[in-house]
């Protein structure tokens, strides 16, 4: 089996060596060729690819966040613009030796210890690629100090950019919303590197969010040659950014700010509409947050403060707030009654109460108004008249007119959250509650209570449509004004009668006398309203209804006002809704606020002068009051360290739990009142008894 062993001699060994050495040499030559071939493959065949990679190594592209488009008012006055901003961020991924870098950075920037602590906490929560803000609005000296010491500060990114600026602050918060750093989910969805560029912010709420695509613009890029360690070698050509487009609103910035200030300490909202075009001239919800500080990133403590406030500063009351419109629906009722064939001079005798089955429905005036016709019923805001008339025609005859005037209607506006309330009718109730409509439901609805819910915008639209007789559609973007609205399908003679009654409310001894304009020759027409948010028991009624001042804030009545001016040739219509105002302070009640806001449009000097007189009585302008509130809240709370951390979650004011709660509570109260039967009484205004 075994091969005979080969005899190996020195000669054969030498021969074998020589053969094998030759083989070895051949293999070596082959390997040499292979290496040359591999090198040729890399440097010739794949040269393009590797040249590109080498370039992308060498050249560091820094995205320059685009300058955000301005938001301007109808006259071009900036509502949101940009200011130059020197800022410093930390990119957590690139941060090395945090214990050394943070204190050093703190020394260079002269940051207080709380800030260092805040940054440390933010860094712990950060998602690696997302920049953590160290400081904004730095002066040039401190910014330069960081820039020159950059090699000692790995992960620290100083940027000279633009920060969003809202000159009017809180007055426009719910109009514009605010901007903020994108959250981790947004980045994961698009992987757009711009989203994690320090200093880049996108719209988080309000118009800033809805108009984001137009406002954003296109990022520029700064190209620099850098070493592997990030040291800058040379600056190469820079591609400039393309700024975002300017968004022009129909808002009048001056009016907006004036209205916000005029609301004073109220928790309320104002909408002013141009009666010729439907353009919204003001859309105010107060109190509000400061969008400037929101855009910088607010702390958990500030968020908590805003959430705890019973005036719900996080809520845009114009689109999210739903209120029983109270007596402000009476002009609309009047139109419906006339439309249903009720003669304008038909009278109802008001004795102060009306019995329906086992329940008694009261008028706000205990002794009753005596006999009155439609005009007087509107002027005196008599409940019994409308109870009786609603009982006669049925609510199914009223609801369509209400809808024609904008109640329950959702408008095509760039706001993500619009609650559009309820304009009930028998079908609606049967569908929703599986119960038939009752006469008591009609009675409650006829005084704007019960199931009826509206937002302030709808009330303003209602006022504008009554004033103009046209089917106006509100608009807020100057590019989307719905001009040439058709006439409403309502007899213009009826409209004139109702306008006449609304003129009477204010100028002929009606309930809204306080709203009378002080400008000679110009009159305002309007209607006041009060919406009760609690049931008044029989026991309480016997012992005397509690005054609003005696009640806790949340149980006080809402105060409402709609109006238009000039009464004879309507130009502006408005709605003012004050939550739980309770008509306690005359200066801060709806008629005077409505009057002053109208005055601003017609005689600016006079309006500003009167505001200057009254503003100090409630603690100064918005900024002063907000600062005071914040200081006292902070003093009351001994803030735990976590509270100073920047709030990074995705909740924005429109979706804030505090807003949800406020609305839910209001809705529940309303539903309770509506289903309780027995009726709620209308309370008139502070004008009562004058």
């Amino acid at each position: 089996m075994r091969r005979p062993p080969r005899v190996v001699t020195e000669m054969s060994q030498a021969y074998s060596f020589s053969r094998r050495a030759w083989m070895l040499g051949a293999v070596q030559g082959g390997v040499g060729l292979m290496l040359a071939g591999r090198m040729a493959w890399l440097s010739i065949a794949q040269n393009e690819r590797y040249t590109m990679l080498s370039e992308s190594n060498r050249v560091n592209m820094t995205l320059l966040p685009p300058r955000r488009g301005w938001i301007v008012d109808r006259h071009g006055v900036p509502i949101a613009n940009n200011r130059t901003d020197f800022r410093v961020d930390i990119i957590p991924d690139r941060l090395r030796d945090k214990e050394r870098v943070l204190p050093l950075l703190g020394r260079i920037l002269q940051l207080p210890p709380e800030e260092i602590e805040r940054i440390a906490i933010d860094l712990d929560h950060a998602a690696g690629f997302q920049p953590v803000q160290v400081a904004e609005n730095l002066d040039w000296e401190r910014f330069a100090a960081v820039s020159v010491r950059l090699p000692e500060l790995p992960g620290v990114a100083p940027t000279r950019g633009f920060a969003r600026n809202y000159p009017a602050g809180a007055a426009v918060a719910h109009l514009t919303g605010y901007v903020g750093v994108p959250n981790a989910e947004q980045y994961k969805k698009t992987r757009d590197p711009l989203l994690v560029t320090p200093g880049f912010k996108l719209g988080k709420d309000g118009l800033e969010k809805m108009l984001e695509p137009a406002l954003r613009g296109e990022a520029g890029a700064k190209r620099v040659e850098v070493t592997a360690r990030g040291k800058l070698v040379a600056e190469l050509a820079t591609k400039p950014d393309v700024p975002g487009k300017t968004a022009r609103l129909t808002i009048d910035a001056g009016l907006q700010e004036y209205a916000a200030r005029r609301l004073g300490t109220n928790s309320g909202s104002v909408v002013v509409i141009d009666c010729r075009t439907g353009e919204m001239l003001a859309m105010v919800s107060m109190p509000a947050y400061d969008p400037n500080s929101f855009s910088d990133g607010i702390s958990h403590l500030e968020w908590q403060m805003l959430s705890d406030d019973d005036h719900v500063p996080l809520m845009n009351k114009v689109t999210q707030g739903l209120y029983p419109p109270g007596s402000t629906v009476k002009p609309m009722n009047g139109l419906a009654l006339l439309h249903a064939g009720v003669p304008a001079d038909a009278r109802v005798n008001c004795s102060g109460a009306m019995r329906l089955g086992t329940s008694v429905f009261h008028c706000h005036k205990r002794g009753g108004h005596g006999p009155l016709d439609l005009k007087n019923a509107i002027m005196q805001s008599c409940d019994i008249y409308f109870y009786e008339m609603a009982r006669r025609v049925g609510y199914a005859a009223i609801a369509p007119i209400a809808r024609t005037l904008g109640m329950g209607q959702k408008f095509d506006l760039p706001f993500s959250t619009q609650r559009f309330g309820t304009m009930p009718d028998p079908d609606w109730k049967l569908h929703k509650y599986k119960r038939p409509w009752t006469v008591a439901d009609s009675l409650n609805a006829s005084i704007g209570q019960g199931y009826v819910l509206a937002n302030p915008l709808q009330l303003a639209v209602m006022a504008a449509r009554i004033a103009s007789g046209r089917d106006l559609q509100p608009s807020i973007l100057a590019s989307q004004v719905h001009r040439d609205a058709p006439a409403l399908a309502i007899d213009s003679e009826n409209l004139a009668r109702v306008r006449e009654a609304m003129f009477g409310v204010i100028n002929q001894g009606g309930t809204g006398g306080a709203a009378k304009l002080l400008i000679p020759g110009v009159a305002i027409a309007g209607k006041t309203g009060t919406a009760q948010v609690r049931r008044i028991t029989m026991a309480e009624r016997r012992s005397g209804v509690l005054k609003n001042g005696q009640l806790p804030f949340k149980l006080r009545d809402h105060a409402l006002f709609i109006g238009f001016a000039p009464a004879d040739n309507p130009r502006y219509a408005l709605a003012v809704v004050l939550e739980h105002n309770g008509h306690t302070v005359r200066n801060l009640d709806t008629p005077m606020i409505g009057r002053d806001i109208m005055t601003y449009m017609l005689d600016r000097e006079r309006a500003l002068k009167s505001l200057a007189e009254v503003e100090p009585t409630w603690g100064g302008d918005i900024r002063t009051r907000m600062a005071a509130t914040a200081a006292s809240y902070r003093a009351a709370q001994s803030a735990p360290p976590a509270a100073i951390a920047t709030k990074t979650d995705a909740t924005v004011p429109s979706d804030a739990p505090a807003v949800e709660n406020a609305t839910d509570v209001a809705n529940r109260t309303q539903a309770d009142l509506a289903t309780a039967g027995g009726g709620v009484a209308e309370d008139g205004t502070t004008e009562r008894g004058q």
Binding site: P5, R6, A14, V31, G32, L42, N47, L53, A228
Partner: protein, 369 residues
Amino acid sequence: MTSRIIPEQLATLPWRTLLLVTAIGTFGLVVLYSAAGGSLRPWTLPQGIRFFILLAGSVVLSRIPERVWKAAAWPTYGALVLALVLVELLGAVRGGSQRWLDLGFIRLQPSELMKPAIVLACARFYDMLPPNETRRFAAVWPAAVLIGIPAAIVMKQPDLGTALMICAGGATVMFLAGIPLRLFVGGAVAASVAIPLAINFALHDYQRNRILIFLDPESDPLGTGYHISQSKIAIGSGGLWGKGFLNGTQSHLDYLPEGHTDFVFATMAEEWGLVGGCLLILAFLLVIRWGIEVGQRAQSRFARLAAAGLATTIFFYVAINLMMVMGLAPVVGIPLPLFSYGGSSQMTVLLCLGILMSIDRENRKTTRW
């Protein structure tokens, strides 16, 4: 045959090879000058001084007769194994691994010297082995032990690259000595089975990583794969003619790690392109071919095996290093001889060259007689 014109000492020197070696070394100095950003310091100057001293040293070594090398083969091997053990012990005492002995004036890296020493030892072994034993088992196991001991110690240091080179150097001599080919074929088969196992069980984590990353460098572009990726970028972006002297961005902006030591070829290729790379490869091949020819001309079995073995050792340096920088082999830490900054490999290669020249000189003497 070269001419026999006097002076004999100079005439017998292999001038063409010395010129090639000097050219390679000088080119290396030029590349180091660029790698330092156009400066003689910190690399070109010390490397240059060392190169010319060591080159002169190798010429001096060439005067040593072959029999001295033959006589020194065993003692050198023994001393180096002892030194390796010593290094290992020192490392154990101090904690952490160590590869060199500090002799005060020089840091001696025994594993580096073991590369030529193993060739000499194996050559000496087969020289002693009677020719008719060559195809027996007795011709295989002692050599395997000779190779295995230092390779195992070096592997433990851990220095995978050097251990591989020791094995490769020894195996080359075994092959040249006439060990049956089927053993090598069998060995190759065994290795192809053993390597995956070794990767999984015998290697350190960092070594295993290097190999896994070599197989897929993009899987970890900023970690261990960074070396390979950046090196390929440097070579690939060089193109045919290169970016020009002092114009390499990969090396100058520090993207290429170890651009002056293990990855110096990439530094060169970026600036001198495919042309520079091919010329360098050609120069190395010519030096190696000369070494093999020296072996083929040699009369004694020891000289034949030693010369071809040492030439192949130089070849392994070049081949492993180039395969590594071009992404054909894992990063194992083998420098490019005469080119990479660092004294150890310079010394080893010039030592090989000295011995080769000494054998070459012996050849000419023999032919003259």
